[in-house]
Amino acid sequence: MGKVGIIGVGQSAFVRGYPGSIRELAFEGFKDAMRDAGAKTEDIGASVICSAPEYDKQRSPAGVFAEYMGLTPQPTFYVETLCSSSSTGLKPAYSLIESGLHDSVAVIGFQKMSEISSAESQERMGRGADIQWESPFGTMMPAYYAMYARNHMATYGTTPEDLALIRLKSSTYGQINDKAVYRKAVTAEMFTDPESPMSGPVASPLRVGDCCANADGSSCIIVAGEEKARAMSDKPVWILGLGAASTSVNLAGRDVFNGLTVGIEAGRQAYEMAGVTPKEIDVAEVHDCFTIAEMMAYENLGFAKPGEGRDLIRGKETYKEGSIPVNVDGGLLSKGHPIGATGGSQIRTIVLQLRGEAGDMQVKNPEIGLVHNIGGVGLYGNVTILGR
């Protein structure tokens, strides 16, 4: 088996209320990635379309997109794992190439969350929970992560102020990322100032500032076999490790409550496949839909021991200049979280970092990067390791 490389990455700006249709939105990321790869539509052997369908009015968007993007008559299909849909899409793309069925695949993620109202969107995300057993109790995403936060605090002494530090870091980079939806500064005082929207209670102990920004957006990753990647790109980034796991949709069935078992298991697989250890990761994107999610990811991915994630953020070790830079593009918290586009955007960030093309967000000379993308509350987990 040869290597599989990423030869093009793209994303739309993440915005509130994208004015066009979903196919136009998806085209923005696609166009960006095709230009980046210097590819023509006939270079693409197949397309994988990714989103979380509860937000889409369009059913079966794959065929609609393939037609709009000129990717016919090549095969296309749809992949969904809630918030991790587009990193999940990378796995069939990799497999199609390694199997020899295709020599290149476009993985296109999108979400137009403004197709429905914000309140409705919270309720629909709750439907990503178990609609039979949990939704009748009014579950929604912040409530689940809030319970992880409460136990992390009780077990390890993590504080609300530690979580706020994660948001401060995100806003530092959100301000310099022109694709980010939330580009304003966030200060620690805002979390305690009753006049600031950041301090508003959502689900105790999480506050508004602990929650990511909803956005509309799209992303696209163009993947190719080794031969084609070398022919088309001066700087292919190789897929070194792919880990993926699932767990019970009902948190009641889970043993570990201070971290997401899917993140731990997907990480273990990806490290093993890539033959690297957490210490060798130079830059990472982790799934920070809530501040506590980033804190747990530090620990679940082995960047810190369980309970010591707070030391990383207190010591600014996850800033650009630190020992393990994390989410130095603003993360989901500031860049925004258009569900189905998020994983592809995270992969794009790491690819740009490894190529040395991340601009003001560039980490010094990274060689190996990691992407951690979670769907639902730890229902699906993908960890992808990339290298130059």
Binding site: W133, F137, A146, M147, N151, V202, S204, P205
Partner: protein, 145 residues
């Protein structure tokens, strides 16, 4: 709290909790696999290990609060604002179950609190029809086992 006439109101998720007509404390209903002796909550129709049908059984109504949150965003399904949800480690069966917590006892919710199950009319079914829901409430001092 329990004075309201709940006779006519239908339970949400029927078959997952008892609705006593006397003073018997309500309990959650789970599934029991006779073959491998596994307990499940919520009850599946089949045991995934044995592929055999499970039978309904009580899994308890008392336990310890493992985690909780007070949700202050707009509640769905006509639930009170704020409403509370949490995980309870049930005595005996050892199952960790998810459910509603008493919204009128917010200040008594702490990790490790002793709680017991109540069944009350809370919220609706999504179409405005009232529903009985199981809801854990903290024990009063000196109450319980």
């Amino acid at each position: 709290m329990n004075e309201q006439n709940t006779d006519a109101i239908q339970p949400v998720n029927p078959g997952t909790f008892t609705v006593p007509e006397d003073d018997t404390p309500p309990e959650l209903l789970g599934g029991y696999c006779r073959t491998c002796r596994s307990l499940y909550y919520p009850p599946p129709r089949y045991c995934p290990s044995c592929l055999e049908e499970v039978e309904s059984c009580t899994v308890g109504g008392r336990g310890t609060l493992h985690s909780f949150t007070v949700v202050r965003t707009k509640p769905p399904l006509g639930l009170p604002q704020p409403y509370c949800v949490g995980y309870v480690d049930l005595d005996g069966s050892g199952l960790r179950v998810f459910g509603l917590l008493d919204p009128e006892r917010v200040e008594d919710l702490v990790l490790g609190a002793r709680v017991h199950l109540t069944v009350r009319s809370m919220g609706h079914d999504g179409r405005g029809e009232a529903r009985l829901r199981p809801c854990f409430t903290p024990d009063e001092a000196g109450e319980g086992s």
